[in-house]
């Protein structure tokens, strides 16, 4: 290359410095988090919703679900699961179509940024916001409703892997479902009903085993039910396992279904993800 073909700006400009892949992903994650936190609707609905719900539920059901076990102890599991689903599945399913419609994704495609960096940015955002939101929810519940936190390391470990697998599955499904929305506005119309129905049939608002059995069967096909079940094993006494539909918390099955949804979500993402809108060809 000759100097005449290398254009622009004085020679004194910044020296060549390529940011490594990890650095690029972290920058992208930071940008996504900044965008999220500055968008008031996102913060209120994603971070606030589970907390508002637990406040309402704790006020309505102030008794005990069993001697020494408050309703809050049960509902917190649904609220954590719902919060994780909101920050991943709903958040991405609603925002990606908006970004696609605005041409943000198309613009990224026109840069040398590796494609995976953009996805990594979304994942970092979901994980950070998910942890913050869960911590806030736990803090509020401990402070106001005497929530008992998991007592053993094993339970915290279960809490960890159920959350990670659940968030991963929901993130991938959120990215996948974003391709169904044809315009910026249709994202929430696609995602919200799905999320709402899953919340009702998966034991978020009601005790799962009190639901009609066909509803339980349907819910068992989707990740949210299993996230709730896994979390119940963390927050409820061991003896409550007997009350589950399968007679125990079935952690092996929780893991299996969530991993399966991760795979399904990943395949859908890889096969259907679009950087541009349909009218963009």
């Amino acid at each position: 290359m000759t100097t005449t073909t290398k254009p622009a700006t004085p020679v004194a400009a910044a020296p060549a410095r390529r940011i490594g892949p990890g650095g690029l992903a972290l920058r992208q994650g930071r940008l996504e988090i900044t965008q999220f936190l500055r968008s008031r609707e996102s913060v209120v609905f994603t971070m606030g919703f589970p907390i508002i719900m637990i406040l309402i539920f704790a006020a309505i059901f102030s008794d005990e679900i069993a001697p020494g076990v408050s309703y809050t102890q049960y509902f917190i599991t649904g609220m954590i699961a719902t919060g994780l689903m909101t920050v991943s599945f709903q958040n991405l399913g609603i925002w990606i179509p908006i970004e696609r419609d605005r041409g943000v994704l198309k613009r990224y495609r026109g840069t040398p940024m590796p494609k995976w960096v953009w996805f990594a940015g979304k994942v970092i955002m979901v994980v950070v916001i998910g942890i913050a939101e869960t911590a806030l929810l736990l803090a509020v519940s401990v402070a106001l409703f005497d929530l008992d936190l998991p007592a053993t390391a094993a339970k915290w470990l279960t809490f960890g892997w159920v959350s990670v697998l659940g968030v991963t599955a929901c993130t991938l499904c959120g990215i996948a479902i974003s391709s169904l929305a044809r315009t910026a506005r249709s994202g929430s119309a696609v995602v919200t009903p799905v999320a709402l129905v899953l919340q009702f049939i998966s034991g978020v608002f009601f005790v799962f085993t009190q639901l009609p059995s066909w509803m339980q069967q349907v819910a068992a096909l989707f990740p949210l039910k299993w996230m709730c079940q896994g979390l119940r094993s963390v927050f409820l006494p061991e003896s409550f396992g007997a009350r589950e539909p399968g007679g125990s918390f079935e952690l092996d099955r929780v893991a299996l279904v969530l991993v399966l949804w991760c795979v399904i979500g990943l395949v859908l993402c890889l096969t259907t993800f679009r950087w541009t809108t349909k009218r963009d060809g």
């Binding site: 290359m1 000759t2 005449t4 073909t5 290398k6 254009p7 622009a8 700006t9 400009a13 910044a14 060549a16 410095r17 390529r18 940011i19 650095g23 690029l24 920058r27 940008l31 900044t34 965008q35 500055r38 968008s39 970004e99 605005r102 041409g103 943000v104 994704l105 198309k106 613009r107 495609r109 026109g110 840069t111 040398p112 940024m113 590796p114 541009t276 963009d280 060809g281």
Partner: protein, 281 residues
């Protein structure tokens, strides 16, 4: 680099269903050249440019952009190509400086973000959220993102649509600066004065075909067209004559009037006259 052509296109075709958008385009753009693609809406400008940018796949034809096939864009190739798309991809929650700085991280040899913001005339808007910018200011941000990687080749798709006249003049200055520094520039426009003012060569595209490629002053054999000479007679009426030798006619008139010819004008067909004829009006 031996290759003196920035872009080489042979027999490019692209159809959307039955609608043939590009029907066999041959085109060469030299390094360091400013090339304008001029044509009415729907003529195939954007489709052609987006194929060159690596956004769309072609049905047939050979395309080489900076020595590579844009259908298989590599990160290195992307780093050498700057793109200003027709639609703006907005980052509502971020400031101008944040967006430009973020994008600078994608390039190993990026320009200084603050300097680029200054250069596109957004210096006093650097800390403004992008959603507060006017249409013209958003377009400048687009340009900033297009040039932040110090591209060898810059695509501008209808860059000044919606600009007021002053903003357009300033924008043209920026383009001339970039061209003077050696950047190859391909712009699409439907403003004739823009093509005339900026481009070394103009390609007129209509119905998916390049109907002519020439320097603006030679388009449609403009320099050979008959000139129209008009003047005011001593009686006060306006006389008009078509002439292939207007200089001789003016000399003749000057002799007849004994010096100054009242109300003298000499005009050639405007680019607009030629252009409208070419695109079939």
């Amino acid at each position: 680099m031996a290759d003196e052509l920035a872009i080489s296109v042979r027999g490019l075709r692209k159809a959307y269903g039955d609608n043939v958008a590009v029907a066999g385009v041959d085109l060469d753009v030299h390094r360091g050249e400013v090339f304008a693609l001029l044509g009415p809406n729907g003529a195939g400008k954007t489709t052609t440019v987006e194929i060159l940018e690596g956004y769309r796949r072609r049905d047939s034809g050979e395309v080489s952009v900076l020595g590579s096939d844009p259908e298989r864009p590599t990160a290195d190739w992307r780093a050498r190509v700057g793109i200003v798309l027709q639609g703006t991809g907005e980052f509502d929650e971020l400031t101008v400086a944040e967006v430009v700085r973020h994008f600078s991280g994608f390039y190993a040899d990026a320009d200084d973000p603050d300097k680029v913001v200054e250069r596109v005339g957004l210096g006093d808007k650097a800390k403004a959220r992008t959603h507060t910018l006017s249409g013209g200011q958003k377009r400048r941000l687009d340009v900033a993102l297009g040039i932040i990687g110090r591209p060898e080749l810059l695509f501008l798709d209808e860059p000044t649509t919606g600009f007021d006249p002053e903003a357009r003049r300033e924008f043209w200055e920026l383009i001339r600066d970039l061209a003077a520094a050696g950047t190859t520039i391909v712009l699409t426009t439907h403003y004739l004065d823009e093509a005339e003012s900026l481009a070394d060569r103009v390609g007129v595209i209509a119905g998916g075909r390049l109907v002519e490629v020439a320097p603006p002053n030679r388009l449609g054999n403009r320099q050979d067209a008959l000139a129209t000479v008009s003047w005011r007679t001593p009686e006060g009426s306006v006389e008009t004559a078509q002439s292939a030798t207007p200089t001789a006619l003016v000399a003749d008139l000057a002799a007849r009037f004994g010096g100054e010819v009242p109300g003298l004008t000499v005009t050639r067909p405007t680019l607009e006259d030629i252009y409208l004829r070419m695109i079939g009006h």
